[in-house]
Symmetry: C2
Subunit: 297 residues, 2 copies
Amino acid sequence: MAKPNLSPKIHLNKDNFESLLQERVNNEISKYIINTNEIDESMRYALTNPGKRVRPLLAYLIGDVLNLNLNMLDGTASAIEIIHTYSLVHDDLPCMDDDDLRRGQPTLHVKYSESTAVLAGDAMASLAIDIILQDSCLSSDLKVELLQFLMKTIGPEGMILGQIQDISFETTDVSEEQIIKMNELKTGALVEFSMLAPVIIAGEDTKQWGKIAKRVGITFQLIDDLLDIQETEEKLGKAAKKDKKKNKKNYPICFGVDKTRDKIKEYQNEVEVLISEMNLSEHPISIYINKLFARQK
Amino acid sequence: MAKPNLSPKIHLNKDNFESLLQERVNNEISKYIINTNEIDESMRYALTNPGKRVRPLLAYLIGDVLNLNLNMLDGTASAIEIIHTYSLVHDDLPCMDDDDLRRGQPTLHVKYSESTAVLAGDAMASLAIDIILQDSCLSSDLKVELLQFLMKTIGPEGMILGQIQDISFETTDVSEEQIIKMNELKTGALVEFSMLAPVIIAGEDTKQWGKIAKRVGITFQLIDDLLDIQETEEKLGKAAKKDKKKNKKNYPICFGVDKTRDKIKEYQNEVEVLISEMNLSEHPISIYINKLFARQK
């Protein structure tokens, strides 16, 4: 295994972890996009759009639980955020969700062009994979294991299948189980990857974290769908209620706001129990997951 | 290194190699797409469109020169064809080249929808990478080396940069050098990967093959551009002369048919010399490259 140049261990606490880790991943990502051509400029535009960096933060916080030096996660955390951004850029295209705004700013195809958005998405997927391949902290065996998991997560049996289901559900009747499965594929899978990648890198067992990750992933999309119904366009910085207008099906649209809140509460309680079984209720990971469950935007 | 289950060595000769290798790669690809959902169906549609399988054939033929058991190349050859197809599917989109026909059949977005074409392209990129990651004939070190090379080939400094240049050149003046560089990135790089991947897998030096591959890659695009100008829509099975209508710039459009023919001849002569230096003038690889140089469709 390659010898990484490890920096001193960083001490995360409940007051500093969020800004500290957001800055860390933003700084990491900026290292990989250095050219001045239209592809790099458009990728930079999409990636400096002020997102919450939820997925990298989950990865870093679990790495902290497992006592990993965070250097070991820098490449993977950046790759995860870049993959997430690629999926948003393609998802926002006119032929997909047709969104003009993302986090309050023009989407990539509005700012540049549709062709640039297609190509920038393609480029980000390739860049993210390359970041893991080039990561000097990881052995070849670990790179292959992580990337196999990532391809399963984002490929034709993962995220992309969820996205095509999301579109095809517009014109079919769907069951509760199908909606939850679609959520899990479309959004949950990459959240799960973010939470399990550090466990794999640390060489620990993924069973307990797997249960937590699955619930956090599904709930994340349920909350997103709920906010989309409840909030105004102005407040969210994206076209709210758009999904409903386009025959889009999601959990609150199909089964109501109350049942969605119950479902979120159910998953939240299960996650709290699982976290407390690991004696992590006071750790920033627990604080952060609770914050995600309580988010209003 | 994992122990591959090697089949007996196949004897390629000038009469059988083309059909035998096309059948081989088609058969391999079909193993990876087995589901009945819209993503797999659309990928299957794009991948069973009767292409010449130029890139896998180049890989297999060079593998044969290097005395590799062709099993060692099955995954990589399939991955290359799938990557090539992904690039065509995105390139054909209305916001890109806006092509309705590909190899005489409706393009993927015409047959299915634009959203399916975006997602099927994304899925194919992911699938191709996963095929190399899962290849039981290759060690982890070799997988990482091949995939690093592949990401460089298709990523934001390779194929995608060539594609964005191709679009941006429509509205700018370009030099001969810029056109050749764009060809090299857009088309040449993946041809080069196809020819050098077997050399890397065999653990041989890539220097001489690199010189050949570079010339074959650029020439392949020059011939494509020349045919596009010369042939009628009916003959080519795609929208001929379309490039010129759309202000597309390529070598024959900018510098004329005669100069393009001279350029092709120049590269062809250089390749012939390089191949003869390796005493391979009688090998199927030489026959196949000559056939590519002489192709009329």
